[in-house]
């Protein structure tokens, strides 16, 4: 059960861990934009993104295996989209033809392109959650969303809901594990049978889980009420966020990456046009 948690926070002291959460969030957004800016067949752009991820991983102190594991959850999705591209892309030069299936060079290239795009995106995004604790993440998002307060958007409440949700993920995983064990002890079988049978077998887990979530929510609300919690204006934070030289370096590297990708795009574009 514990393996499910995608990109769960990896506690360590490192350059990336010590960066400001806001900068990291913005950097990841910029990074994802960069990955999507890479035009098809501009594999140099992907190489730049990959280099960036490798440097960031090395600077984060998170083992490479741990970062790679984040793909595991969506591996099925990646493989599926690659297969669709390989078998059902009919453009380009035909390499193999077998009945109605045609494998073309363009199909293969597109498949590689999609795999590279999704993989790079997920790895980069998971690096954020691996190096930023849920609390920092929620604080960072709250701080970034502050301008929305002008539009009467309840930013603090939104951030609170988010941090509570993040906070309860491990708790609920433990709870799920416990309930699964309890039902297994009563002979429940979650492994055999077809999809429908497996889905039905989950009912004895989901109902107790739902009930205990409500119970926990009630208890938490009571506990917060008892301490007179209110998300008022004057509420201060235990940890204040500060920008440091690390963040400057992060921003510079990020800017370098974007410039590089855009430059490759332009030269690629020019090469085609001219």
């Amino acid at each position: 059960m514990k393996e499910v948690a995608f990109g769960q926070y990896y506690p360590a002291k490192s350059f990336v861990h010590n960066m400001d959460a806001r900068v990291k969030i913005l950097a990841v957004i910029a990074y994802i934009v960069a990955v999507f800016l890479v035009q098809s067949f501009q594999f140099m752009g992907f190489a730049a993104c990959l280099l960036f991820v490798l440097i960031a991983t090395a600077a984060s102190g998170v083992p490479f295996g741990k970062v790679l594991k984040s793909i595991k959850g969506i591996l099925f999705f990646i493989i599926l989209s690659a297969i669709l591209q390989v078998f059902f892309n009919a453009t380009g030069n035909v390499l193999v033809e077998w009945g109605f299936i045609k494998i073309t060079d363009k199909g293969l290239l597109n498949a590689a392109f999609i795999v590279a795009r999704i993989t790079l995106m997920v790895i980069g995004a998971s690096l954020l959650t691996l190096t930023t604790s849920p609390v920092e993440l929620a604080d960072g998002i709250e701080s970034l969303l502050t301008p929305l307060k002008w539009l009467k958007f309840p930013v603090h409440e939104f951030a609170l809901i988010m941090s509570i949700a993040l906070r309860f993920i491990p708790t609920l995983l433990d709870e799920t594990d416990r309930i699964i064990k309890a039902q297994k002890a009563r002979g429940a079988d979650f492994e055999s049978g077809n999809v429908f049978k497996k889905a039905k077998a989950l009912i004895p887990v989901l109902i107790p889980l739902l009930i205990s979530s409500f119970r926990r929510a009630d208890e938490l609300a009571d506990a917060m009420d008892a301490r007179c919690y209110s998300g008022s204006k004057n509420r201060t934070k235990y940890k204040k966020m500060h920008l440091t030289w690390r963040d400057l370096i992060g921003v510079l590297v990020m800017a370098g990456l974007i410039t590089g990708v855009v430059y490759l795009n332009i030269t690629g574009f020019l090469a085609v046009v001219v």
């Binding site: 416990r178 064990k181 297994k184 002890a185 009563r186 002979g187 004895p204 109902i207 107790p208």
Partner: protein, 289 residues
């Protein structure tokens, strides 16, 4: 069924450098058929991990020792865990949180439906009725009720009925009396003895409550940091007062009294049950008069 573990080792998060925790470290323990066996130890000492091996909820790892329950060898890949689980019932902490069905009847029948899917409806209902009545509830009155509209104590009884409905020979209980009021606790212990006299041959009770263990168990083991610190009758293990305190454990009331009286020069030799202690104490004090 005899329960036996040999050099049983279990490591959480094995392979990870900073995050792995050794929950069990070469635990060898034998519980004979017919025993009312207690397992005590601090939180995190490996008690729960140990008992979850006994019905295969946690599988015995390769080269991590062995567990044998009756004729079942749990380190064997071909072990039939399903039929094992029908024979080794397990009551978890706060068992009422595992209730899910629409009616009490369905919830109690869940285990039977899994273990014996072909059992005729009439026979199944007979067993369900028996289990619900064994835990001291009126079957006809509650069978069609939703388990969620019952009181806390009733919920727990229904949950236990859902475990004993398959008539397990070994019953493992993990901190079963947590959160019960004194009356509830007393009734619960009576229920355990009733079960132990009926189809349940062996009871393994995990608890923080030293009185519960000294009062009811034939033998007990103390777990500490994934290892077995000591095994013996309550009298044997609870006489090592200072070690227990050092391990962060309480003493049962009788052991505390025996220790305090000993410090004042009065030696009382008893089996450390309340009745046994009073009997021995009464003799000594009567003699003094």
């Amino acid at each position: 069924m005899r329960v036996e573990s040999k050099d049983l080792t279990f490591i959480y998060g094995e392979g990870s450098k900073n995050l792995s925790v050794t929950a069990l470290d070469k635990v060898s323990l034998t519980v004979e058929e017919g025993e009312f066996f207690g397992i005590i130890g601090q939180t995190g000492s490996g008690k729960t991990t140990f008992v979850q091996h006994l019905n295969g909820l946690i599988k015995v790892g390769k080269d991590k020792g062995s567990v044998i329950v009756g004729e079942y060898n749990l380190s064997d890949k071909k072990c039939d865990f399903k039929s094992l689980r029908a024979k080794v019932g397990m009551v978890f902490q706060y068992p009422e949180y595992q209730l899910f069905a629409e009616t009490v009847k369905d919830d109690v029948a869940f285990g039977l439906k899994n273990f014996a899917p072909n059992m005729p409806e009439g026979e199944r209902e007979k067993l369900v009725r028996e289990a619900v009545e064994t835990v001291g509830l009126n079957y006809d009155r509650i069978k069609e009720k939703s388990p969620f509209e019952l009181s806390g104590g009733q919920k727990r009884r229904v949950a236990i009925a859902g475990v004993i409905v398959t008539k397990p020979e070994v019953l493992v209980l993990d901190e079963p009396a947590a959160g019960l009021d004194p009356v509830g606790k007393r009734e619960f212990i009576e229920l355990l003895h009733k079960l132990h006299g009926a189809f349940v041959k062996t009871i393994i009770l995990v608890s923080h409550d030293m009185n519960l263990v000294s009062e009811n168990c034939t033998r007990a083991a103390i777990f500490s940091h994934g290892k077995i610190h000591s095994v013996g009758t309550p009298k044997e293990i609870f006489s090592r007062y200072d070690e227990l305190v050092e391990l962060g454990l309480d003493l049962p009331v009788t052991a505390s009294l025996t220790r305090a009286l000993k410090e004042n020069g009065i030696e009382i030799d008893s089996d450390l049950t309340v009745d046994g202690f009073i009997e021995s104490a009464a003799k000594i004090f009567a003699g003094e008069k």
